[in-house]
Amino acid sequence: MTDEQLDRRVRDADPYRPEVVAHLDGVAQNLLEEIMSTPVLESVTEPPGQRRSRPRRRLMSGLASAGIAAAILGVVFGTSILKTEQPGSHEASPETNSTSEAPGTTTYSAMVLKAAEENPRLLIDQPGWKATHVDGFAERAGSITYSNGGRSIRMSWYQASEYDGRYKDRLQISKPESVQVDRWPGHLFRYSEREFEVILQPRDGSMVEVRTATAYTRADFDRVLASVIRVDARTWLAALPAEIVTPERLDERRAAVLADVPLPPGFDPATVNVEGVNDSDQFGIQVLGPVGCAWITEWTRAKKSGDDAALRRAADALRSSHNWKALQQIDKGGYWADGFWEIADTVAAGKPIHPKMFNPCNPEE
């Protein structure tokens, strides 16, 4: 067989079938719009006074944009920022949000800003409130818990389509009582004398539940509700505490999480995408999980191929996870790190992995 014949045989064996593209019916274009509606890592710094409402992207209704939209849905945060940046904050109606300005130069990607502008953003205009837990921002639902001393409030949001079911469910709890949160209509339900929840009606595709997470008197809860305000995107983003990892902070925080973590051969941290907004525990889990999985996979490969040096490196790396600072910090907040160390030690010792053991290669578990 000549080189020419060989080359032709290889060319003919190409499994790609160009006709596939003809059957995609615009899906490729939709994918592009979804991708471009996600925030870019490089930030755009806009000088004060030049902020403007950017034109809406034509196809922002894609899945990704929905995810980002949910990520920016509203919340309650520390208000020292509010006090200085948002005087007369009750003026921050949806109509004025896109043009209202927070003072000082703030750095956000255009995409994050735009997504934020398209969603309700709630803050508690009282000092001392801080986000202590954040999850699920990358999905169409999520929640944040805010604490102030011994008191906590949890705000959860869902797609607007869930409203009817949730409202009907709460009718089993108590009679609804009409309330407004910064002119946003909703209903208050009473679980007990010390536990309340407000369900806000759908707005811009989402609904919000505000629920007491610690004991409140009704008067206390009313006072907190009365100070919840809707603010512009920049104020909301600026109010996110430093511990919360926004898309803007992704690169920096990922590098910090991985600072003392050995990376498997060929592992590119840039391929570890952490979507949305996360607290530091959730962020650490989403970054370290793929690294752990990659080391387990590398250990398995090395074992199969009899590569003793690679096997030792993988085992050492897995054992070293006990010293990874970010993993130790996660340990303070839950059992994820224990599960990680259990499987890391098991694999490093060459013991079989029990199917029910936590496994970072199956992050959905």
Binding site: M1, L6, Y16, V27, L32, D307
Partner: protein, 188 residues
Amino acid sequence: MSSGTEHEERFRRVYAVNFEALLAYAMRRVEQPEDAADVVAETFLVAWRRSREMPPEAEARLWLHGVARRVLANHHRGGARRGRLGDRLRQRFRAALAVDPGSEVPERLTVRAALARLNEMDREVLMLTFWEGLEPREIAVVLQVNPAVVRTRLSRARARLRDILGDDLDPPGHVLDVMAVRAPEEGR
């Protein structure tokens, strides 16, 4: 630095020009063809997020292949989540790819099975040469090696493939994909 709009338009052009090439690249290297949807979506997502680093449009394809190569490595390690982004593309793929595996030409299956028996680097050099149509200097950019190394590899890979095909004249009954068969690491 280009303005936001210019930058976005540039990314759109790069996407339009390279989408099919990246789709083909992914389809040739995943076990289940619909997984290519995830690889393509993830590759362009990483590219978008790093688009300020993207080289001029004429060179963007090689850069994208480099991104796709790392995304694929993650995919094969099982570390990649199935993303929401690729969902619709994946669904469309399933419909577009509905084909009887038995209709594949046995000769092609034989060659793919032979490719699967090569080590990863030899196989990749052959695939990039004959399926992606890249020159050795371009392959060198994608693989981040010296062009001379690519030429040597190509020559050796051809010889090895010829040996394997010579040993294996009977077409197999069914081969799903070259990546479905893991080749032993070279020199071990």
